[in-house]
Amino acid sequence: MADEAAGPREPILEVRALVKHFPLTQGILFKRQVGAVKAVDDISFTLHRGETLGIVGESGCGKSTVAKLLMNLEQPTAGEILYKGEDISKLSGRALKAVRRNIQMVFQDPYTSLNPRMTVGDIIGEPFEIHPEAAPKGDRRRKVQELLDVVGLNPEYINRYPHQFSGGQRQRIGIARGLALNPEVIICDEPVSALDVSVQAQVINLMERLQNEYDLAYLFIAHDLSIVRHISDRVGVMYLGKLAEIGTDTEIYDHPTHPYTQALLSAVPQPDPEGRDTRERIILTGDVPSPANPPSGCRFRTRCWKAQDKCAEEVPLLAVPERFKDSDTGARHDSACHFAEDKDIVHA
């Protein structure tokens, strides 16, 4: 975790006005575009060296698409992704390969993200095949064993296959592979969602330890708001392809100003001894609208209990709301709502 007192360190990844639309086509022989899934629609944020930025939001809001764009697995429709000031979405060939070494990914599903026919040694060593300069051939076995040790697995397991490991152990293998090239950034898409509670804690602790040791920056995508608070320095809340709110963990959790964030926080079940009925419950009605046809104005307005005419007409911009510009509380942070209000949900 970044030292908060020292303030943010230099930006390592900057996302500017990022857009990804997936075309919706009709017809078999002559495909024509009839619309687009607006999976990511004008998103900007910065990831600093050594920090964790959490991204939360419900299914389909575009979290994985952001991850894929950052990993260059999808091409943006518009916008820029700057790695140390250079737009990587426009790079190709060697230049791209060099950048990729520094940005790695850990996937959600420890069961399907590892090739069942490869040994653990081959899986963790695979990045060395693509980037031979990272480890000379004779040295790779030792490097892989070192990585196994780093993530708390027995180095003697190097010749085993993924099915011989538990879910938590497989996730460690995925992390070891992510670490192989000594990256600066790791994009983690739901890295612990598939794990049991007791194993989840082990993997989270491991990730925090590795971050401190190697000064890693994490983009940590998850839908579990408690875990995101635990691991993140800053948190962004996504809804239907847009960022609704972004700020430090205290700003988002103790001073949420966007109604969607407030509803999310109030819906998180908490195993509190005295917890029953003390928190205010906001039960949203209806479902998330389709990203192919999002509501005009504020995308949250079809489920928002505060919506007014203005919300249908004007897209609220992500900025510090006017009324909080001079506030000295945590409410002073970016929030995309015309009627932002500071509301403590989790301590009520």
């Binding site: 419900e58 299914s59 538990s166 879910g167 938590g168 152990q169 049991d196 509670v197 007791s198 194993v199 989840q200 804690a201 082990q202 989270i204 602790n205 925090e208 839908h223 708001l225 408690s226 875990i227 608070r229 635990h230 963990d249 205290t250 959790y253 509803a263 999310l264 926080l265 109030s266 819906a267 998180v268 079940p269 908490q270 195993p271 509190d272 001894p273 005295e274 917890g275 029953r276 009925d277 419950r281 039960i283 949203l284 009605t285 209806g286 479902d287 998330v288 989790v346 301590h347």
Partner: protein, 344 residues
Amino acid sequence: MSIEMTKADVPGVPLLEVRDLHVEFRTREGQAKAVNGVSYTVDAGETLAVLGESGSGKSVTAQTIMGILDMPPGRITGGEILFRGEDMLKMPEDQRRRVRGDKIAMIFQDALSSLNPVLSVGYQLGEMFRVHRGMSRKEAKAKSVELMDRVRIPAAKERVNDYPHQFSGGMRQRIMIAMALALEPDVIIADEPTTALDVTVQAQVMDLLSELQRDFNMGLILITHDLGVVADVADKIAVMYAGRIVEHAPVHELYKRPAHPYTKGLLDSIPRLDHKGKELYAIKGLPPSLTAVPSGCAFNPRCAMARDVCRTEVPPLAEVTERDGSPLGGRTSACHFWKETIHG
């Protein structure tokens, strides 16, 4: 006394009781003891949460109650399942089928795969009434709309002929709830009913489920691996580990003062929403393989409190009391050292 006649409770007899149930699976590695002496009860108007990590035997217990266990490879090797005091495992087949069809209903985690994709939801709901209640098509359809309304599907009348894929995940799960409610059962078993749903939708569905449970005065068995989900709805919790109940308590008692090291470890390993904690507590190691459950207490290789006796003697499910021996409302713990655990 026939079961159909007695909707009223028999005093002192639980609505549904699982007593010392044992279920094994034949696997390549040997006999897997998936359920290893599980006992729990649920009464009318009561919600029992069954909590445990993956593979602890929650679903197998439920499947055995519902009579949908894969046999083979599964085999019931002991125990009773009592519905209003009568052992379902010993009932004549037709009576057992009536109880399971009419009196106990189940909701599964994955609504999409439990609904038939090529039939409209109205048809599938109506089938319950046509087959079990002998209603006409028209009557059944009217009932289906009524039920869809009851589980808050907007514009139920217009949507009754839609197919499962035309509904969102949350709506499909509400349709599953409607299906379970159709015959007004006495007990509903919900196996991870909201695990696949988003947190805001999960809150909607849990709210609905507990409202209906109250309105119909049903017994609800809520299976989950999420300690948070049950906090607001359950009356009591049974915690499972490696096929056994290791602790049983009223829900808030359990959160406040766990009497088993495993429960305590689980509670300590959840990150908090209301403040940023330091390093998380993590239970070391992994749950055991069910073909090689450790001797003595199954939790002993992972337990920070384990002593010699834990490796040799299976801890009985002991009654948990206050320090001075006064009772604690039916709390139990399967730990040799429950006293130290709860009283420090």
